[in-house]
C-alpha cells in the first residue's frame, strides 16, 4: 500500500465523513497529509491516530490560505494532491424560499472555498522542486447532474464545480504545468451525517430504505469507496486524466431504474 509514497496531500473538511476517510486512506497509501476543518476535538484525534497534520481553518476565510501555504512550503516542501472536499447543505431550501444570507453562505463554503483551495494548490504545485505538477480533486455530487428542488444552492454550487475543475484543468495544461484538476460526483454516501438523519427520522428503517433505494445498487456508498477514487486520481496512474468529471453513484445517474 504505497501508491502515494512521498506525496504531500491537502484535504479540506477532513474532520468528518468523506474527508476524514480520505485522510486515513491517503496516509495508508504512504502520503503525508495536511487537513483542515473547524472541529478541533475531531481534528486532534484524527491527527494523533494517523500522524497527519490538522489545521483549524474555515474554507471561507480567504486570508487563512496564506498561512496554510506557508506551513506546507516550509514543513513539507511541496504539494502533490489537493482534495477540495469541504461542503454543506445546511439551511438550504428551494428557489422560492432561499434567503440571500443562506445563499451567500453556502456559495462561500461550497464554491468559493473550492476555488480558493484550487488556487492555493495551483500556486504551490507550480513551485514543486521537481517542476510544476500535482492533482487537484473537487468533491462535487451527483446533484450536479440531477439537482434537488429543495436544495437550490447546494445543487447549483455542485454544478459549478464542473466548470471550475475544467477551467482550472485547461488553464494549467495551457500554461504547460503538469497540474491536473478533476471533479468527482458521489451518490448518497453513508456518512455520520446521513446516519444521524436516519437515526433522527420518525421511522429510521423507512429513512434507511429511502436512502438505499435511491441507487439502482440499492445501497449507499461507503466513505472508503469515495476515498479510493481520490487515491486513483491523486496517483501517477492518472497522469493523463485532467478536466474529467467522474460519477461514483451506484448507477444513480446512469438511467431510470426498474422500468
Amino acid at each position: 500500500m504505497s501508491r502515494l509514497a512521498n506525496k504531500v496531500a491537502f484535504i479540506t473538511g477532513g474532520t468528518s465523513g468523506i474527508g476524514k476517510a480520505t485522510v486515513y486512506r491517503l496516509i495508508a497509501e504512504g502520503a503525508k497529509v495536511i487537513f483542515t476543518g473547524r472541529n478541533d476535538t475531531a481534528g486532534e484525534v484524527i491527527s494523533k491516530e494517523t500522524g497527519s497534520h490538522f489545521i483549524n481553518h474555515d474554507v471561507t476565510d480567504s486570508s487563512g490560505y496564506e498561512k496554510i501555504s506557508e506551513i506546507i512550503k516550509t514543513q513539507y516542501g511541496r504539494l502533490d494532491i489537493a482534495f477540495a472536499n469541504a461542503g454543506t447543505e445546511m439551511g438550504d431550501t428551494d428557489i422560492e424560499n432561499i434567503t440571500i444570507e443562506v445563499w451567500n453562505k453556502l456559495v462561500a463554503i461550497n464554491l468559493t472555498g473550492a476555488m480558493l483551495t484550487a488556487q492555493m494548490a495551483v500556486r504551490l504545485m507550480r513551485e514543486n522542486p521537481d517542476g510544476p505538477n500535482g492533482s487537484i480533486i473537487l468533491n462535487s455530487s451527483m446533484n450536479a447532474h440531477i439537482p434537488l428542488g429543495n436544495f437550490v444552492t447546494y445543487s447549483t454550487t455542485k454544478g459549478a464545480h464542473i466548470a471550475l475543475a475544467k477551467s482550472t484543468a485547461v488553464h494549467c495544461a495551457g500554461q504547460g504545468l503538469k497540474v491536473r484538476c478533476n471533479v468527482i460526483h458521489p451518490g448518497v454516501v453513508e456518512t455520520d451525517m446521513i446516519k444521524g438523519v436516519i437515526a433522527g427520522a420518525p421511522d429510521a428503517d423507512a429513512a434507511r430504505a429511502m436512502f438505499e433505494g435511491m441507487a439502482p445498487m440499492k445501497r449507499m456508498a461507503h466513505v472508503d469507496e469515495i476515498a479510493g477514487l481520490v487515491v486513483y486520481l491523486g496517483s501517477d496512474e492518472a497522469a493523463f486524466i485532467s478536466g474529467a468529471s467522474y460519477n461514483i453513484d451506484g448507477a444513480t445517474t446512469a438511467g431510470m431504474m426498474g422500468v
Binding site: K166, A221, E225, A238, A239, A251, G255
Partner: protein, 258 residues
Amino acid sequence: MRCKDTTALVTGGLKGIGLAIANRLAEEGSTVFITDIDKPSEDLNANINYINADVTNELDWKRVAQLIEDERGSLDILVNNAGVDCVGPVQKTSLKNWRRVMSINVDGAFLGVKHCYDILAKASEKRNGGASIVNISSMLSKVGYIDTSGYNASKGAISSFTKAIAVEFASKNISIRSNSVHPGFVHTPLLQQGMQNLVNEGVADSVDVLLDMLSEMTPIGRMAKPNEIANAVLFLASDESSYMVGSELVIDGGWTAR
C-alpha cells in the same frame, strides 16, 4: 496485488491498449485471457492466455466462454476492448464500412456481455465489488470529430449500452458492475495506421507531422500512453471501484474539458 486470484478476459488483447490492459491486470495478480483475430508474433506474459477468436462471431464467443468456464470456473473481469476506426467523410462512407465498425465495436461488446453473463454472474458472488465489465469507448462518444462519424456513433452506442446494463443488473441485485472508459488520443498501432492512411491520401507529409499536431491539440500537450488507459481499467476491475456503476471515465488530457 489489486486483482489477486481473479480471471479476466480482454478482447483485442494483442496490440495497443488491449495488450497494455492484459499486462497490467496480469501484473496485479489476474489470470488473463485475451482474444484476437490476429496471431501472437511475440511471447506473451506467462499469465496471459491467447485465444484466437473474432468478437463479431457468436460461435467464437460461445467457445471462449466455455473454455474459460472449463479452465477457471468463472470470470471476474470482462474488458470489451476490440475496436476499429472508420475514417472518411460521411457521404463517402460505404454502408459496408459503417456496418464493419458497428459490428466490431458494438456487436462485439454486446455478444461479449451476452455470452459471458453466466460466468460473470458466477464470479460476482465471490467478490465484494462483484464482477466487473469495462467497455472501452472513446472521448469521441462525447464530442463529434471530423470524418469519423461511424466511429463516433459506435462509441456513443457503447456508452449507452454500458449504462443500460449497469442499471439493469444493479436493479435486479446482480453484482456485475459495468462502466466505460473514454480515452483521448492514445499512441497505438491503430492510431498509427489511421494516420498512415491520411498520409497516403495526401493529407499530410508524414505520420509524425500528424501525431505532433494531435499532441499540440491536446491541452496537456501530449497523447496518452496505453498504460494510462490500462490503469483506469485496473481501477474499474478492482474492488476499489465497488460503488462505480454506469460511470464514464474520461482520460483525454483535457480534450473534452474545453
